[in-house]
Every structure is written in structure tokens, then in C-alpha cells.
């Protein structure tokens, strides 16, 4: 197992004209399950290839346990990778598929047998060991390629490139649980690349949100949800995403539209944005002074609560109310933005705050 | 190390490929007696004489024209007939579609020599009466080029999702409207490759071409055998003719170069 570090990594596929990823400084500690989360085309797969050694970065360094492996091949880095669609050696049976990496390393046959049987046990592949790999379904095949990764004693890390894309919905749940069990039991360093926040937040203890080639924020799932450090993170994590308004500083708070949000700490300067999650907006049917009056345009069920799309004080935003609330479109709703759940951003990063006058 | 080995191997193979061709090329620029006396790749007395004789001689010119004509007719017939057939194989399941496909394939297996006799009769006076016309050779060649064209076109057509046909119908296109305005442009590369294969098959074939023609549809094959049959071979002229027969292929392959790899996929089996 190993700690993986990327130091000032950047990569361009077209000789410097445009950068798929730039100034990446990230660390994955030994044995941690982490995720690279971002929309298609944000550079997460490029990063994964740089870590696995399939791609040499235009600049920057890749360190494994502090040692510079930027020039080393995937084989020398002892990384394993599970791809988007199942990659198995069709003509070999499951046993030989799992034994393949060990045979390439000239591991003695009896040790291979012991390791393969153990891995097949964990991945529930034992009944299929003698079957030809081509015959199995997508989910089993993905488990085989996982097995190829963890069968080796010296695997430094297992990388997953959106592994559940071709798996049909009801099997996804089992594979997700298997991944977590695998991590718990083997304590391997795992990095999971996906655009699906549900897979990322469930699987990983540490998630990095990426957009347009930049790593915006890295942290625990709860931190990303409670304290997004960039507007994009607020939008991308959480469903529905964070409400975002342009804001201008005032004496006792910030002005959004024609409503002043009272704050004890106030940001200065221009290009300010205020962000608050729909589920943190406090709402009530009856009026309170200092609250924002809004008209409900539409209220729709979200499975376990009611999402109201409201507009008031020149703002359009969303509010989550309990499932049994009698709210209907056309009603009036009074809302407040509690300070502890309100985030303020400047130029796309957390704004510096000062005590209010 | 591996890089050099593969580079060496490839150059060796290219040399093996090129030498006979270069030998013919160099012969085409020598006079016949120089060919018989001096054995060297570089012609001492470089001359365009052979090409002049071939290009001015009405016999050779008509032979070239005849060959190009029946090859063209064969390609046109093959495409007109293969397009709908490939569409049927790619879009519909119907009774006997697999057997039919294998039967089309088996036609390709028949050795030319086997069919010489009956073809001569089929196209002769009592048969279709097309003996010694371009149509005879073109139609005879379709027996071999249609199965191949259907195979290639079906491969390209199956690459296009059926949902596109349905979207076109939903948009209100009639079948012909859909087929010509939407579908054909989509498989244009496939048509190009199928045309290339039909043209090339027909252009290289010799047995049918020589046995179904005599004088006024006399193709290159017959002209060549005739000139070879004469007493002393006029090697310079024959070499020039040989080089000229390379021209259509080289020109055509240039046009289909980026889809050639896909054409060869023939993913049907």
C-alpha cells in the first residue's frame, strides 16, 4: 500500500495550447478510499491515467511513498485499474484471469492458487472459477477485473474509472457494497473516478471535486456538503444543488436582490456570491419581521420531502419543506437564511470575512 | 531494440514487394533488345517508346477502354442491386436469412475455371446472346462481386442504429426519402469501399473476361494473351501495359484510403 502524491501536475494533449488538468497538488494517504468527482470532461480520467502511469504528465511529479515514479510504467508502480466497461481475457477461464498478473510476476503456482482462491472467495466468484470469462455477465466481469487488482500482494493502489457505468441499476447496489467491504477488509488505497456524486460520496472517505481541469476542494463527504469552498462544489454536491445569488456588501450583512441578509461577519469587495442549500433555508407559512416574503411557483415531491420553487425580492430559488406540508403553488412563504448555513464566495473562492461594523 | 527489429522487418517486406514491380517498371523504359541483353534496374537507353506505342495503338486503346467499361458496368449493377439487399439483411430478420448469406458466400467459392464452359453457353447465341459484349463480362462478374458488396455494405449499415430509420419515419420521411436523403449519405464511405472492391475484383479477373469476349469487347486480358502468344515477346510494350494496368487501382485506392481499414472489417462472420 502506498501514499500517492501529485505535485504541481499539469497535462496538455495539444502541446500546451489547452490544458486538460493544471496545477494539481493532491495527496492520497495510504489505505484511504477516495474519489475524484466531476462532470464529463473535467480531467478526472486524465488524472487517473497520470497516477496509474498510463500517461506521463506534461509537467509535475508523481510520488509513491515519497519516491518519484513519474517516469515509471504502470507495472513498475504496481497499480491496478478497473475500467469503465469490463476488461477480461475472454479466452481464459476465471481462475486463469485472476492468476494472470501473478504468473507474469513468476509467482510460484501454490502461492497463486492460495491467493486466487482467497480473492475468488471475497468476490463471490468461486462457483465461476472454471468457467470461460467471456460467458459471464457485466457485473461478474467487473468483479474479475477487480480481483486481478487485489490478487497481487504488492498492489500499491486500485484505481476505478467509472466502473459501474455498464452495470444495470439493481446490481449496482451489490457492487457498491462489495467495493466498501473490499476496502474495509484489505485496507487498500483506492481512488474512484465518477461523475455520479452518489457513488463518490458513498464509497469514499475523501472526495476531490474537479471542474475544467482544476481540483476545487478535497474533503470528507459531510464537509463538501456542509461547507462547499467554491460555488461549483455547492452546485455539484447535493441534490438539488445550492442556491446561488449575486451579493453586494452592506453594513450589517449582504444585499441579495432587494433583501438584506443579516450577518455578524461581512465580506468586502466586489464579485461576491451568496450560497445556501435549499434544505437549510428556514421557511414558515406565517410572516416574521426581517424575513423574505416569496411566492411559490411550483411545489413537487422529491420522494421524501417537498421542493418548492419560489421567487421573491427579485430572486428565484428553491426551498425544501417537510413532505406533509400543505404548500401548493401560488401560496406565500416566508424564508430566512440562517448565518451558519450561508456561504459567501468571492471570485469563485471562499470570501474573507470581517466582523460587521 | 524491438523498434529496430520491426522497422527492419517492414523494410525487408517492402523491398520484397517492390522489387518485381520496379523490375517491370524499369523494363517498360527499355527497348526490348536492351531487356534481352542488359540485366540492370537502371535502363541505359531510357525511352518512352513503349508507352507511345501502347497509347497510340488503337488495339491497346480499345482493349483498355473495353476493360474499363465492363468493370464500370459491373460496379454500377453490383451497387444498385447490393444496396437494397444489404439493407434487408441489416434491418430485417426473415426466414432463411442466414442460409441465404452463406449461399451468397459460396458463390464466391466457385473456381472460375469451373464456370467457363457453362458461362460461354449461357451468354452464347442460344443463351442470352450477349457473347462478345461488355454486358456479358459485367454480368458474369456480378456473380462474384455482388456477394462481396452485400457483405461490406451490410457491415457499414449495421453500424448505423435502427433508431435513425425510425426517427426519419417519425419526422415524416417516406422510405425512398429516408433512404436517399438520410441513409445513403450516412453509408457513403461504405458505398465507396464496396465500389472499390467490386471494381478491383472485376478489373483483376481474367478467365471470364477472356472466354466471354472475342473481338469488339476484347479486354486487356485477351489483348495481353494474344501479344504473348505471338512468336518473340515484345517485352518492353508488355511491361508498359503491365504498368498501366496498375494505374486504375492506385487512383481508386487513394479515394477510399481512410475507409479501407473499415471496409476490410467485413465483420459479418
Amino acid at each position: 500500500m502506498a501514499t500517492i502524491e501529485l505535485v504541481d501536475v499539469a497535462h496538455s494533449y495539444d502541446g500546451g495550447k489547452s490544458y486538460a488538468v493544471q496545477d494539481i497538488n493532491l495527496t492520497w494517504n495510504d489505505g484511504v478510499a477516495s474519489a475524484l468527482l466531476g462532470p464529463s470532461g473535467c480531467g478526472k480520467t486524465t488524472l487517473l491515467k497520470i497516477i496509474s502511469g498510463l500517461l506521463k504528465p506534461s509537467d509535475g511529479k508523481v510520488l509513491l511513498d515519497g519516491e518519484d515514479v513519474t517516469a515509471l510504467s504502470p507495472r513498475e508502480r504496481n497499480v491496478a485499474q478497473v475500467f469503465q466497461f469490463p476488461v477480461v481475457y475472454e479466452t481464459l477461464n476465471v481462475y486463469n484471469n485472476l492468476a494472470f498478473p501473478l504468473r507474469n510476476r513468476k509467482v510460484p503456482e501454490d502461492e497463486i492458487d492460495e491467493r486466487v482462491t482467497r480473492v475468488a472467495e471475497i468476490l463471490e466468484l468461486t462457483p465461476h472459477l472454471k468457467r470461460r470469462a467471456a460467458r459471464l455477465g457485466a457485473a461478474e466481469k467487473q468483479r474479475i477485473s477487480m480481483g486481478r487488482g487485489i490478487v497481487r500482494a504488492d498492489t500499491t493502489a486500485v484505481l476505478f474509472d467509472e466502473p459501474l457505468t455498464v452495470i444495470d441499476p439493481h446490481q449496482k447496489w451489490h457492487l457498491r457494497r462489495k467495493l466498501k467491504e473490499l476496502h474495509k477488509e484489505l485496507g487498500l488505497t483506492m481512488i474512484y473516478v465518477t461523475h455520479d456524486q452518489q457513488e463518490a460520496l458513498t464509497f469514499a472517505e475523501q472526495v476531490t471535486v474537479m471542474n475544467m481541469g482544476e481540483a476545487l476542494q478535497t474533503g470528507k463527504p459531510q464537509d463538501l456538503h456542509h461547507r462547499p469552498e467554491a460555488p461549483f462544489v455547492g452546485y455539484f454536491i447535493g441534490s438539488p444543488g445550492m442556491n446561488l445569488f449575486d451579493a453586494t456588501p452592506e453594513a450589517q450583512g449582504v444585499r441579495v436582490g432587494d433583501y438584506i441578509v443579516p450577518l455578524s461577519q461581512v465580506p468586502q469587495g466586489d464579485n461576491l456570491q451568496l450560497g445556501i442549500r435549499p434544505e437549510y433555508v428556514e421557511a414558515s407559512m406565517d410572516a416574521h419581521d426581517g424575513w423574505l416574503e416569496a411566492r411559490v411557483n411550483r411545489a413537487s415531491l422529491t420522494g421524501n420531502a417537498l421542493m418548492a420553487e419560489v421567487s421573491g425580492a427579485g430572486l428565484n430559488f428553491k426551498v425544501i419543506v417537510p413532505e406533509n406540508s400543505p404548500l401548493r403553488s401560488g401560496d406565500t412563504l416566508y424564508v430566512r437564511f440562517p448565518e451558519e448555513n450561508t456561504m459567501l464566495y468571492q471570485h469563485g473562492k471562499l470570501a474573507t470575512m470581517e466582523a460587521a461594523a | 531494440m524491438r523498434r529496430i527489429l520491426s522497422f527492419l522487418g517492414m523494410t525487408l517486406y517492402f523491398a520484397f514487394l517492390a522489387m518485381p514491380l520496379l523490375w517491370m517498371l524499369s523494363m517498360s523504359f527499355k527497348t526490348t533488345d536492351e531487356i534481352l541483353t542488359v540485366r540492370s534496374f537502371i535502363p541505359q537507353a531510357f525511352t518512352w517508346q513503349n508507352y507511345q506505342t501502347v497509347l497510340t495503338d488503337p488495339g491497346w486503346r480499345s482493349a483498355f477502354f473495353n476493360s474499363l467499361l465492363y468493370v464500370f458496368i459491373n460496379t454500377v449493377i453490383t451497387l444498385i442491386v447490393a444496396l437494397p439487399a444489404a439493407y434487408a439483411f441489416s434491418r430485417y430478420k426473415f426466414r432463411g436469412d442466414h442460409h441465404l448469406f452463406f449461399w451468397l458466400l459460396t458463390n464466391r467459392m466457385a473456381p472460375g475455371a469451373v464456370f467457363v464452359l457453362p458461362f460461354v453457353q449461357l451468354y452464347g447465341r442460344e443463351g442470352l446472346g450477349l457473347f462478345d459484349t461488355h454486358w456479358a463480362v459485367a454480368l458474369a462478374h456480378t456473380l462474384f462481386s455482388i456477394p462481396l458488396a452485400v457483405w461490406i455494405l451490410e457491415g457499414f449499415m449495421s453500424g448505423i442504429p435502427k433508431a435513425i430509420d425510425e426517427t426519419a419515419y417519425i419526422d415524416g420521411y417516406s422510405f425512398p426519402g429516408f433512404f436517399f436523403k438520410i441513409f445513403t449519405p450516412l453509408i457513403a464511405p461504405g458505398i465507396g469501399v464496396a465500389a472499390f472492391f467490386s471494381f478491383m475484383f472485376s478489373w483483376v479477373e481474367v478467365i471470364m473476361a477472356s472466354n466471354l469476349t472475342r473481338t469488339n469487347a476484347r479486354p486487356l486480358a485477351v489483348a495481353l494473351t494474344a501479344s504473348l502468344g505471338a512468336e518473340g515477346w515484345d517485352w518492353g510494350v508488355i511491361a508498359a501495359v503491365g504498368v498501366l494496368t496498375l494505374v486504375p487501382g492506385a487512383v481508386l485506392i487513394y479515394f477510399v484510403r481512410n475507409n479501407l481499414a473499415k471496409g476490410f472489417a467485413l465483420g459479418r462472420v
Binding site: 498510463l54 510504467s73 507495472r75 475500467f83 466497461f85 476488461v87 481475457y89 475472454e90 479466452t91 481464459l92 507474469n104 486481478r148 | 520491426s6 517486406y13 520484397f16 522489387m19 523490375w23 517491370m24 523494363m27 534481352l36 449493377i77 439487399a85 434491418r91 426473415f94 451468397l104 459460396t106 458463390n107 467459392m109 466457385a110 473456381p111 475455371a113 469451373v114 464456370f115 464452359l117 457453362p118 458461362f119 453457353q121 449461357l122 456480378t142 455482388i146 478491383m200 478489373w203 483483376v204 478467365i207 486480358a221 495481353l224 508488355i238 511491361a239 503491365g242 496498375l246 487501382g249 492506385a250 485506392i253 487513394y254 484510403r257 481512410n258 473499415k262 472489417a265 465483420g267 462472420v269
Partner: protein
């Protein structure tokens, strides 16, 4: 998913008509000739399998069949591995790729007769280049008289003429293999040979099937090229089945010629069907029975 629709037969009609005319009628004529004894202008009469038995006993024919099999299998044994090797060496991207593609494809574009002429000019003792090479190694090469030289000249000519077909087929097959398979193999630390054996070859199976089938059919009916270069000689070391058949036809004994044609055609049909079955389920194959 494809809809079952019997109307599809209308689309097929034009193709079927033309191919049928070209296939059935001549085929029927051959079959009926093979059962009758027809001499020029005389009424023909039914003689049953006589033609077939005479052909099968015909020593010349039997030797030709042997030679044909030897030739076809030898040619396949050389061209298939060589074709695969070349396809692996061909560059995948850039202008070099298209240039190589065209250059390698050239031999397939030459009329078969001209191929014969080229190799005749290239190897003839009086004006060929090959004799000069062999003189350096003071080996008296003469395709006209020495039967070993003639045989190998015809074989090498066929290799020169048709290896590109296998190479191009494999090249298109290689393009279809997703890069992820090679990445996985690199990550699993597989050697280059192992990667070829476990990733590349299995996925080339379908194009190789086509290649071997086409190559077997074409090599089994080779006629023009050997006739041009060695005229079937010396003796009949390079006289293949087509050669024997054409001589029969030229001698106007249609009965035996027709019988021979049918035997010839069925040999190809059966062997091709066997190849087809072997190759299509060589890849998939049923897996070993599951232990309890």
C-alpha cells in the same frame, strides 16, 4: 432489435435474380453435362456416374488434387503468420499509416495475368533478375527446368500477391480492439508476447476466419499465374486442378470436364464449411464442465 418482416424479400429480389441466373443455370448445365456423354453435334445419352468414376481414376487428376492441397496449405501456412506480423508492424496513425496501407495494398490491385507476367519477367533465366542473385551464391536457378525452383517460384509469387490481403484484414481487426485491453495487460505486467497471445489474437479471430476462408478458396482455384510463369511445368510440377480442368475443356470432352468441375467445387465447399465451423467456434468453445 430487428423486426421479422417477410416483405424484406422484395429488397433481395434484384440481387437474387442476377446471382441466380449466373449461378443456377451454369451450375445446372455443369451438373447435367456431368451425367451425359456429349460429343460435338451428336445426340447425348445418359451414362450415369461413368464420368465421375473415370475422373476419379484419372491419375493425372489425382496428382493434381494432391498438388493443389499441398500448395494451398503451404501458402496458407506462410501467408497467415506473415500477414499477422506485417499488420502488427503497420503504423496506426498519421500520414505514414495511409501511405503504408496503399503501398501494401498495391499487389491486390494488379490483374492476375499481369502478376504472372511480372514474375515471369522477374525470374526468367534469359531476362530475369532472380537468376543473377542466385548466381552470386553460384546456384543455377532455372524455373523452366528445375521443378523445385518452379514450385517455390509459384509459391513465393502467391505469397507476394496475396499476403497483403491477410495483412489488411488483420490491420482492420487490430483497429477494432479497444485500447483499454492493452492498458489492462500493461498494468497486469504482461510481456509483449503474452499480450499478443491473450489480447490481440483472440480478438483477431473473426477477421482471420474471413482471411483464411478467402485465401483457401482463391489459392485452391489458382490458374492464370502459374500458367503464365511456368506453364504448369516442368512436367506438371506446377499444373494445378484448374489447369487440368481447362485442358479437359479445351479438348472438348465436356462430360469428364463437367464431372471434374463438380468434384472440384464440392471439395472447396466442404473444406470451406469445415474451416468456417472450426474457426467460428474455436474462439467461443464450450467451457470446461463445472466441478461440483
Amino acid at each position: 432489435m430487428k423486426q421479422t418482416n417477410q416483405r424484406a424479400w422484395f429488397f433481395l429480389l434484384p440481387a437474387l435474380i442476377i446471382v441466380a441466373i449466373n449461378a443456377f443455370i451454369p451450375f445446372m448445365t455443369v451438373i447435367n453435362y456431368s451425367f451425359i456423354d456429349k460429343l460435338q453435334g451428336l445426340p447425348s445419352f445418359w451414362i450415369g456416374l461413368e464420368n465421375y468414376s473415370s475422373v476419379l481414376q484419372n491419375n493425372n487428376f489425382r496428382q493434381a488434387v494432391g498438388r493443389q492441397f499441398a500448395f494451398s496449405f503451404l501458402v496458407l501456412a506462410i501467408q497467415v503468420p506473415l500477414g499477422i506480423l506485417i499488420s502488427l508492424g503497420m503504423p496506426k496513425k498519421g500520414i505514414g499509416a495511409t501511405a503504408t496501407l496503399i503501398a501494401i495494398g498495391l499487389p491486390l490491385l494488379i490483374p492476375w495475368q499481369v502478376v504472372g507476367i511480372i514474375w515471369r519477367a522477374f525470374t526468367r533465366s534469359d531476362l530475369g533478375f532472380v537468376p543473377i542473385i542466385f548466381n552470386q551464391f553460384n546456384y543455377n536457378y532455372d524455373a523452366a527446368l528445375n521443378s523445385a525452383d518452379a514450385w517455390w517460384t509459384v509459391v513465393i509469387m502467391d505469397v507476394w500477391h496475396w499476403t497483403p490481403l491477410i495483412a489488411l484484414l488483420c490491420y482492420s481487426g487490430l483497429n477494432a480492439i479497444p485500447d483499454a485491453y492493452y492498458q489492462a495487460a500493461r498494468i497486469d505486467g504482461a510481456s509483449r508476447l503474452k499480450t499478443f497471445w491473450v489480447v490481440t489474437l483472440p480478438r483477431l479471430r473473426s477477421v482471420l476466419t474471413i482471411g483464411i476462408l478467402l485465401r483457401f478458396m482463391d489459392s485452391f482455384r489458382i490458374y492464370i499465374e502459374p500458367t503464365m510463369v511456368t506453364g504448369g511445368g516442368p512436367g506438371n510440377t506446377t499444373a494445378f486442378m484448374s489447369d487440368v480442368l481447362v485442358r479437359q475443356a479445351q479438348a472438348f470432352n465436356f462430360g469428364p470436364a463437367a464431372a471434374m468441375s463438380l468434384i472440384y467445387f464440392y471439395i472447396i465447399l466442404i473444406i470451406s464449411y469445415v474451416f468456417f465451423q472450426v474457426l467460428t467456434n474455436a474462439g467461443t468453445g464450450s467451457d470446461q464442465p463445472q466441478e461440483a
